[in-house]
């Protein structure tokens, strides 16, 4: 267990800079999720923490010590790979005990450690099997078992659940969380699945194109995204963005390019004035048959627990989510309004929150 501190870390592949100075502080025992679109540099950063990738600039420290020049084995970290990377020629027990064997631990000591980890993960029955004889979920557990046998200071996970089917993924999500609660080790977890990030993290780091966009607790990021990228990345269906001109004063409203005005209700704070990108989450658009703006429905998607409506609001496509079972059909007209105070305003140029 140890805090991890990443300071202004950069990564070059030749002349190509893929990480542009990333700084993150991770407290002792914290569960941090790195999330971002494909290719944004999450794996690279994680591998730099692990020591698998050279650090081109900046420092990474574990437990207060700079580890830039240390080999992976000297960093006291454990890593779970997306492909699990189980040694195919070793049994489950051998896989889990390999790191201890390399450190010349005694046979009984290895067996005890493996048995303990196997018990935690429910792998006791499978210890004699080879990886090819296991299901995906079991392999996943062995990969975690291999990590916890080491009792490392830091756990690193690189998209460990992405090879599992949807149902198993939800189950393993809980298991990983429980494991963390039980062991209390500092954990860095990479995923591109924002639901995984929201449900698992103590702290989310949203990355984009080699930069950190925002760091914070899941709901904090959800409710107060620092910019349009974070706002759009978290939440499903994604937030609606509408370009227009904000008018404050009595009857605050958003004026669209075509001249249509949409009332914004009582904002509860002072609004920005002038051109904005207005963002509103699908669940914050409400049906308002009396005073709402008219929109035409183009798609209705019932999911069972809720209904997603895709509608055209003055030429703009918006998505809204209603808890009720609605019986609309494509082509129907509805009237919608925005829940007061739930709108987000972003600078149309920079995307920064206003």
């Amino acid at each position: 267990m140890a805090p991890v501190s990443i300071k202004d870390v950069r990564k070059y592949y030749g002349a190509l800079e893929v990480l542009h100075g990333v700084s993150i502080d991770i407290a002792d025992g914290e569960f941090v999720v790195l999330v971002g679109p494909s290719g944004c540099g999450k794996s690279t950063l994680l591998r730099m923490i692990a020591g698998l990738e050279a650090i081109s600039g900046g420092t990474i420290s574990v437990d207060g010590e700079v580890v830039n020049d240390r080999a992976p084995k000297e960093r006291d970290i454990a890593m779970v790979f997306q492909s699990y990377a189980l040694y195919p020629h070793m049994t489950v027990a051998q896989n889990m005990g390999f790191s201890l064997k390399l450190r010349n631990a005694g046979k009984t000591e290895i067996e005890a450690a493996v048995a303990k980890a196997a018990k935690i993960l429910g792998l006791t029955e499978l210890l004699g099997r080879y990886p090819r004889e296991l299901s995906g979920g079991q392999r996943q557990r062995v990969a975690m078992g291999r990590a916890i046998v080491r009792d490392p200071k830091v756990f690193l996970f690189d998209e460990p659940l992405s090879n599992l089917d949807a149902k198993l993924r939800v189950q393993m999500r809980t298991e990983v969380r429980e494991l963390h609660q039980r062991l209390g080790s500092t954990t860095v977890y990479v995923t591109h699945d924002q639901i995984e990030a929201m449900t698992m993290a103590d702290k989310i780091v949203v990355m984009n194109d080699g930069n950190v966009e925002q760091v914070g607790a899941p709901l904090e990021l959800y409710d107060r995204p620092a910019n349009a990228f974070v706002a759009g990345f978290l939440g499903s269906p994604a937030m609606n963005f509408i370009d227009g001109t904000a008018h404050r004063g009595d009857g605050a409203a958003l004026e669209l390019a075509g001249g249509a005005r949409i009332a914004l209700g009582d904002p509860g704070r002072t609004l920005p004035e002038g051109p904005v990108t207005f963002g509103i989450r699908p669940e914050d658009i409400v049906l308002d048959p009396e005073s709402g703006t008219t929109a035409r429905i183009s798609v209705v998607e019932p999911t069972g627990s809720e209904t997603h409506l895709v509608a055209h609001l003055a030429d703009r496509e918006i998505v809204l989510v209603a808890r009720d079972r609605l019986t609309y059909r494509p082509g129907d007209e509805i009237r919608v309004s925005f829940a007061s105070g739930r709108g987000h305003f972003f600078d149309p140029g920079t995307g920064a929150r206003l």
């Binding site: 698998l52 050279a54 020049d69």
Partner: protein, 292 residues
């Protein structure tokens, strides 16, 4: 050939101290250059030796020629026998490759796609051929070719070469053809396409990689084959180059400068083609081995 980091994760690059990685690199290059020189020195001295006089060769086998003797090479290049034997090799190689591809592809297709009684046994029958070197049956083979009246003809070399290459070729092709999805066949069948049409219109066009592999292996083996032509051919005008080079050496005895020039000129086509098409040739020769 690009993902060569497999054995050395980047971790080692940054974690071992700069000194030790420098020593490692030095050691790697030293070893590679040593082995490369053992490979290349005989080849280079052979090529250079062809430019020397016999006396020059005796006193100075390694260095550049004292005087470049173009005459050695020119004499061979203007001789009929050099071109004649390359031509013989080419013709034999062409027919061997062509027949191997045609015969093996048809058999492999049938074994891969047509269900019939005994197809499993038939495949094993062909695979039997993989286990035994030509030499085990070389005498009966000679007698058979003699009795067929094919001795000292191209066909006496081509047909046994094709036959001994069939096991491997059928195996490689059948494994490839099996991967053509069944749905494709069903779709073609619904369109009114029979087996033979399917073979022409679907299987062959989809199988270019395996045809290239099998073709390269067949041609290279035929081009370099020594024992079958040695036994089947008697007149020098039919000799492919491995035989020609041996008889040349027999004639010129210790006139090494001529022999070296001759060797150089005969392996030149191989070397040129190898460097020009190295990717395909290496892939063909090794993947043929691995996939088989």
């Amino acid at each position: 050939m690009t993902d060569t980091t497999a054995t050395l994760p980047p971790g080692n690059r940054n974690t071992s101290s700069p000194g030790s990685s420098f020593v490692r690199t030095l050691y790697t290059y030293a070893a590679l250059f040593l082995v490369a020189s053992i490979v290349l020195i005989p080849l280079v001295t052979t090529a250079l030796g062809g430019f020397k006089t016999l006396g020059d060769l005796r006193t100075n086998p390694f260095g550049l020629p004292a005087e470049w003797q173009w005459a050695n090479y020119l004499e061979i290049l203007f001789s009929e026998r050099y071109w004649r034997m390359l031509w013989n090799s080419l013709v034999i190689g062409f027919w061997t490759t062509f027949l191997t591809l045609a015969v093996a592809a048809m058999a492999a297709f049938t074994l891969a796609h047509v269900r019939f009684f005994g197809s499993g046994y038939l495949l094993n029958y062909f695979l039997l051929g993989l286990m035994f070197p030509v030499a085990t049956a070389i005498l009966p083979l000679f007698i058979r070719v003699r009795d067929l009246g094919l001795l000292d003809s191209y066909w006496g070399v081509v047909l046994p070469q094709v036959a001994f290459g069939l096991g491997m070729s059928i195996l490689l092709m059948r494994n490839f053809f099996r991967n053509v999805p069944n749905e494709l066949f069903d779709a073609a069948f619904v369109d009114g396409c029979g087996y033979i049409r399917f073979f022409w219109a679907v299987t062959l066009p989809l199988s270019r990689p395996i045809i290239a592999t099998v073709g390269i292996v067949a041609f290279v083996q035929s081009w370099n084959n020594y024992i079958i032509p040695l036994i089947m051919l008697t007149s020098e005008s039919n000799y492919p180059w491995p035989l020609g080079i041996m008889s040349y050496r027999g004639e010129y005895g210790t006139a090494w400068q001529m022999i070296l020039a001759f060797i150089t000129l005969t392996i030149l086509p191989t070397v040129i083609v190898f460097f020009a098409a190295q990717k395909h040739i290496i892939a063909g020769l090794t993947s043929g081995a691995v996939k088989g």
